[in-house]
Symmetry: C2
Subunit: 197 residues, 2 copies
C-alpha cells in the first residue's frame, strides 16, 4: 500500500513539474497559480502542497531542469570549439545567448525566483553554476597564466555576469521590438577586450 501511495505521489510530482514547466515557458513565472496547476493536473490545490512545500519549491524543480539543459548546451558548444581559449569563451557566450533567446521565459525564471531574504541558493543551483563557472575558468587560466586563483575566480564571475547583463538587457530590448542582432557583437566586443592580456 505504501508503495502505491509513494508511486502516485511521484507521478503527481512529475506531472506538476511538466505542467509548471510549460506554463513558465509559455507565460512566464508570474503566470504560475496553484489553482490553475491543480485544475490542469486534476488534483486538489492541497495535493500540490503535499508534494511541494510551496510554489517556490516547484519552480526550483523546474529551474533545475532548465539549468541542466543550459549547461548541456554550453558543454556541447564547447566540445565543438577550437583550442583557442578566447574563441572558446566567445562560443560559450553565444551558446548562452542562444539558449536565453530560445527559452526566454524559462531562462528568466532561473534568476527571477524569489528567495526569502538571507536564504541561500539550493545546492543543485550552486553545483550547476559551479560547472558553468569551471567551463569559463579553464580558458581564462590559459589566457592569464600569471593571475592567482582568487583573481581568476573573480574574473570568471565578472565575465559571466557581464555576458549575462548583455544578454538580459539585449533580450529585454528585443521583446520591446528594438532590433538586437547586435547582442552577438557586444558579446564579442567585451570578450575581446577582457581577454586581451
Amino acid at each position: 500500500m505504501a508503495g502505491k501511495v509513494a508511486a502516485r505521489r511521484a507521478a503527481l510530482r512529475e506531472n506538476l513539474i511538466l505542467i509548471a514547466e510549460r506554463t513558465i515557458s509559455e507565460k512566464g513565472l508570474s503566470a504560475l497559480r496553484a489553482r490553475d496547476l491543480a485544475s490542469e493536473a486534476g488534483c486538489a490545490v492541497g495535493a500540490i502542497y503535499n508534494v511541494f512545500g510551496d510554489l517556490t519549491d516547484l519552480v526550483l524543480a523546474v529551474n533545475a531542469r532548465t539549468f541542466h539543459r543550459l549547461g548541456a548546451d554550453v558543454a556541447a558548444a564547447l566540445a565543438e570549439a577550437p583550442q583557442d581559449p578566447s574563441e572558446q569563451l566567445v562560443i560559450m557566450a553565444q551558446a548562452y545567448h542562444r539558449f536565453a533567446a530560445e527559452n526566454h521565459l524559462s531562462w528568466r525564471a532561473l534568476f527571477d525566483v524569489e528567495r526569502a531574504p538571507g536564504e541561500a541558493a539550493p545546492d543543485w543551483y550552486l553545483q550547476e553554476m559551479g560547472q558553468l563557472f569551471a567551463y569559463i575558468a579553464n580558458p581564462l587560466q590559459v589566457i592569464f597564466p600569471d593571475r592567482d586563483a582568487h583573481e581568476l575566480e573573480l574574473l570568471t564571475r565578472a565575465l559571466f555576469s557581464s555576458i549575462h547583463g548583455i544578454v538580459l538587457l539585449g533580450l529585454d530590448e528585443a521583446s520591446a521590438g528594438v532590433p538586437t542582432d547586435e547582442i552577438e557583437r557586444m558579446i564579442a566586443l567585451v570578450l575581446r577586450q577582457i581577454t586581451s592580456s
Copy 2:
C-alpha cells in the same frame, strides 16, 4: 469646478505615487496591489484607474522618479571625478552599484516592470537611459579615439550591460547571504580590461 476636480485628481495622483514608491522600496514590485493602495490612499479602487490607466502606468511613474535619482547620483559622482577617463568610468560604475545596493527593490523595479510584448519603453525611460549612456560614451571616446560612432555606441551599451550584470548578480548573492564585498573589485577588473586600449 473643473479646476477643483483637476486639483483633487492631481493630489490623488501624487499621493498614489508616494504610496506606491514606499511600497516598492520596502516590499518590492510584486507586493503592489490596487486594493492596498486604495485603502492606504483612502479612495475607491476604481479611483486609481481614473488617474492611471493601469498599475503598470503607476509603476512607470515611480520608476521615472527612481531613474531620475539614479541619474543625479551618477552625475554627482562624475562631477567630483578626476579628468582620467578610465577613472571616471570606475567612479560612475561605483555610484551605480551604490545606488542599486541602497535602493535595491526600487532599482529592481526599473527593470522588472512587465511590458506588453512589442511595446517600446516610454520616452522618459529612453531619455534617462540616453543621458546615462552619454556619461559613459564621453570617456570611452577619449580612450578609443579611433573607433567609429557605431562601435562606440555598441561598446557603451555593452559596458553598461556588463556593469549592470555584475551588480545584479552580486546583489542577488548578497541578499542570499553570500559575502559580496567583491562587487567593486569585479567592476574594477572588468573596466580595467575593457578600457585598456
